[in-house]
């Protein structure tokens, strides 16, 4: 009995995890299936686009600006060890568009958007607004989930693109003002070493991260427990799971895109 107990606990946890993954996959499948089945709620989609895309721009932009600047300083200091200071522009650009732009942008959007979606939908659930939608012949998945998930999937790559540009600009400012790079040479090095796939892979990652962020927000919001504590738990779970999934998905996508 005592010997088998740890195995039973482990088995129980594994089953619990698999069931949770199954529920999320079914939820994602249902969400995507509504993309091909009208009606569509255009107004809700546009509102979500503004909330997720436009209003996330300041936080993503600031994150990228400071990250680009810090990256330039780090690469310069590290590169100096083997006389490779000149690689700063190209490494800042590649680092931003391939990794830091999408990952940090995704994480910032996760913090801002997954939490807000989960709190909003969780509150709607506990105040019976989601039940009210059903009684008003409106499918909550179509009205609440699909517009948010679609908007995030489309908006986050745009945020990543803007973040990439701002991050590279941050590196440029530091490079030119603090590290004595020639402005024209810095820009030329940035452009010359960037390839189309560097940028495209980052944008693709952004789309995947946007999908995951909104999906987690909606999933935990729609399945929120009762009361303030239930909504609080849903919000926390949405942010944590979205962040972990972004990092895991980033590794998998990097393997797929760039492994030899």
């Amino acid at each position: 009995m005592t010997l088998t107990r740890p195995i039973a606990v482990l088995g129980g946890n594994v089953l619990h995890l698999l069931a949770a993954i199954g529920r999320v996959v079914i939820f994602a499948g249902q969400t995507v299936s509504h993309l091909f089945r009208p009606p569509y709620y255009h107004r809700e989609f546009l509102q979500a686009l503004v909330q997720i895309g436009w209003l996330s721009l300041p936080v993503v932009g600031l994150t990228a600006l400071f990250t680009g600047g810090a990256l330039a300083l780090q690469i310069y200091a590290g590169g100096a060890r083997f006389s490779a200071e000149a690689v700063v522009p190209s490494i800042v650009a590649i680092g931003m568009v391939r990794e830091l732009g999408p990952v940090l942008g995704g994480l910032m959007v996760a913090a801002r958007v997954a939490s807000s979606i989960a709190a909003e939908l969780g509150t709607m659930k506990v105040t019976e607004q989601i039940d009210a939608l059903v009684t008003l012949s409106t499918n909550p998945m179509k009205y609440l989930t699909l517009p948010r998930v679609l908007a995030a999937t489309l908006a986050v790559p745009v945020l990543v693109a803007v973040g990439d540009a701002i991050g590279i600009f941050g590196g440029y400012i530091v490079g030119v003002t603090r590290l004595d790079f020639n402005a024209a040479a810095y820009l030329k090095n940035t452009v010359d070493f960037l390839e189309f796939w560097d940028i495209a892979s980052g944008l693709f990652k952004g789309a995947a991260f946007g999908f995951l962020v909104a999906l987690m927000g909606c999933y935990y919001g729609m399945n929120s427990g009762r009361g303030a504590q239930g909504v609080g738990r849903a919000t926390k779970a949405a942010v944590v799971s979205a962040s972990v999934l972004i990092l895991a998905a980033n590794y998998l996508l990097t393997e797929v895109f760039f492994s030899a």
């Binding site: 009606p39 709620y41 509102q47 709607m124 105040t127 019976e128 607004q129 039940d131 009210a132 059903v134 009684t135 008003l136 012949s137 409106t138």
Partner: protein, 248 residues
């Protein structure tokens, strides 16, 4: 009109409904009473398909609720939720006219607004309330807006979940009167859940008491005071002593 036959529903080990049998005739106003947590709201939600019963059969107008087009089925219903359940992000008139702005009952924007404002007037609210947001309204006004939303598409059947909870006695009286007037005026079938005995006497044609997962007593509202049922007597007189345990 509405018939529930042997409805069972459990949540884990909590067996909430243990064989509910109930019928409501067309145009009748039934009020379900019973203690907190006895499954009154669950029974209503089972009819609407918001909660799936474990077993039993529910029919509306002779048709099983699980057959036929779901949107057409739901278009027959209006519901006033306990807390109003108004959508925070929409102004009042869009809450009221929600059904008229999308889906099968969609009307032009101006027409939907005009109908919503008229329904607001019907529940005693001025047109200037139409452009406010739910958070700007008092509890009583939110209930009225919820009531206007419930009747906006002229449903055949209206459900009222605790319509007077949280309201002062005067506002509760106003809501009770409105419900009675609207139900009679529209000829709608109504089901109401309440603990408020003033509401019961104001709204009901027929009363059903849900206790321990079954309908303990049902009869016309006129028989409420001489039912001879000890459970009903204890409930309507609010006595701590009796067959219903005060500590649940």
């Amino acid at each position: 009109m509405i018939e529930l036959r042997d409805i069972h529903k459990s949540f884990g080990t909590n067996h909430v409904l243990r064989g509910v049998n109930l019928s409501v005739a067309k145009g009748e106003s039934l009020v379900i009473i019973g203690g907190s947590g006895t499954g009154k709201s669950i029974a209503l939600k089972c009819i609407l398909g918001l909660v799936k019963p474990d077993s039993g059969q529910i029919s509306v107008g002779g048709s099983d609720v699980n057959t036929g087009d779901r949107d057409t089925f739901l278009a027959r219903f209006g519901m006033l939720f306990q807390g109003g359940a108004l959508f925070d992000s929409l102004p009042v008139w869009q809450n009221v006219g929600f059904r008229l702005l999308r889906g099968a009952l969609k009307r032009p924007h101006d027409e939907a607004r005009a109908i919503a404002v008229e329904k607001l007037r019907r529940v005693g609210l001025k047109p200037d309330v139409a452009d406010k947001f739910p958070a700007e309204l008092s509890g009583g006004m939110q209930k009225r807006v919820g009531l206007a939303r419930a009747i906006c598409a002229d449903p055949d059947i209206i459900f009222f979940d605790e319509p007077t909870t949280g309201l002062d006695p005067i506002m509760a009286g106003v809501i009770n009167e409105l419900i009675r007037e609207i139900v009679v005026e529209m000829g709608a079938t109504a089901m109401t859940i309440t603990h408020d005995m003033t509401s019961v006497r104001a709204i009901a044609d027929k009363v059903a008491m849900l206790h321990n997962g079954i309908i303990q007593w049902t009869g016309p509202v006129t028989d409420l005071d001489n039912s001879g049922d000890p459970y009903l007597d204890q409930f309507i007189h609010g006595r701590a002593d009796g067959p219903i345990e005060a500590v649940r």
